[in-house]
Symmetry: C2
DNA sequence: GTCGACATGTAACCAGTTACATGATTAA
DNA sequence: TTAATCATGTAACTGGTTACATGTCGAC
């Protein structure tokens, strides 16, 4: 059943949502929270409306099953649970031989690249900002790591957390390095331009 | 003149193209090559058709000036040069106090995050692939660095290059680390489902 | 009485890609 | 003659966001 002829590739977001559903029955609303505090760091967090749209698509493909739940003191909600077909499709997608290369859009790096058009102090300020940001994220990640590192259940998320930490450290080192180089260049003669 | 009332924010791609044009008069075709081998590493490289679309927009805003050039042994082409208004708009955008946070879409990390659904060997193979990739990119970056590091003209691109190198190193370290952790876990009992 | 969390959705729009069309020149 | 490079563009589509609508409950 895995690999029926009409198996068209879905957009990555669909698999991301399906992957989150695979952790257990949830609603669209909960999924949004979950996404924001997990895959958000290395994959964008889709808009709420997008999540609902994906859930409808996954349902129409038979990849998730829907269950309506009436609540008294809360609005009614729809809970989704992954199906066997859904898990097949997900495993299939996950096991493709090569992951597509990362997509990175860094307006900071674009700004640095065009740095000759920017006042040095502005550039340094932006780099400082990024450094602080990375430092804050690193602390947060370290805290999370403490909480989950011995919990076998979180082994794979833990690995992605480690990646986040490595990237933060790289960013901090680079930002400091770049600031230093900027200052050196700036003081070694205002003869530029 | 910088900051007229109708100054609506353009999409980042527009500023990216404008930024590339700011290096000197070019055609859409040349711009595509330039983009592929420069900002491509930290900003996506727009489709060719998109570049032409942006050039038309920039022209209609008065940010670039167009000049038609007839060629004998090549198709005719249109060359673009940034205007004063264009440079104002660009500087203005570049100097905004905080760069928006990086957008990262890593299907590899998404795959690792959902790693419990993937055979360990597949996961390791993907991580190996990424490690090799980062290693290759690092070598390439080091080579480029050798060529440009003493050329004042390339100072700002050089800073972005250093960022790329830092990220490559972080990726290599992380990938090796993750593979090790995966192997350890795998050998310490096949009791995981 | 108003704000924030809960909960789902629609409609309009935007940014960007893919596939294709056109056509000349040059190198294999 | 076939493919690659030069050179620009159109049309259809996809993936995703924004703004908005709707309504309840609990806390301040």
């Amino acid at each position: 059943m895995a690999k029926s002829p009409g198996d068209k590739q879905l957009p990555t977001t669909a698999y991301a949502v399906l992957g989150l559903v695979s952790f257990g029955e949830t609603s669209g609303y909960d999924l949004k929270q979950f996404a924001d505090r997990s895959i958000n760091y290395f994959f964008w967090s889709p808009a709420t409306s997008q999540i609902y749209a994906e859930l409808r698509r996954l349902k129409s493909l038979g990849y998730v099953r829907e269950r309506e739940v009436e609540q008294e003191r809360r609005p009614d909600k729809r809970l989704y649970r992954i199906t066997e077909d859904g898990e097949d499709a997900l495993r299939n997608w996950l096991a493709r031989p090569e992951a597509s290369p990362d997509v990175i859009k860094s307006t900071l790096l674009l700004t640095v690249f065009l740095g000759r058009l920017v006042p040095v102090e502005t550039l340094i300020a932006q780099l400082e900002g990024r450094r602080r940001q990375a430092q804050a994220a690193l602390s947060e990640f370290e805290e999370i790591q403490r909480q989950i590192k011995d919990n076998e259940e979180y082994f794979f998320p833990y690995l992605t957390l480690r990646c986040g930490m490595a990237n933060c450290r790289a960013t901090i080192v680079w930002a400091e390095d770049a600031i230093e180089e900027l200052r050196r260049r700036d003081s070694s003669g205002e003869l530029h331009e």
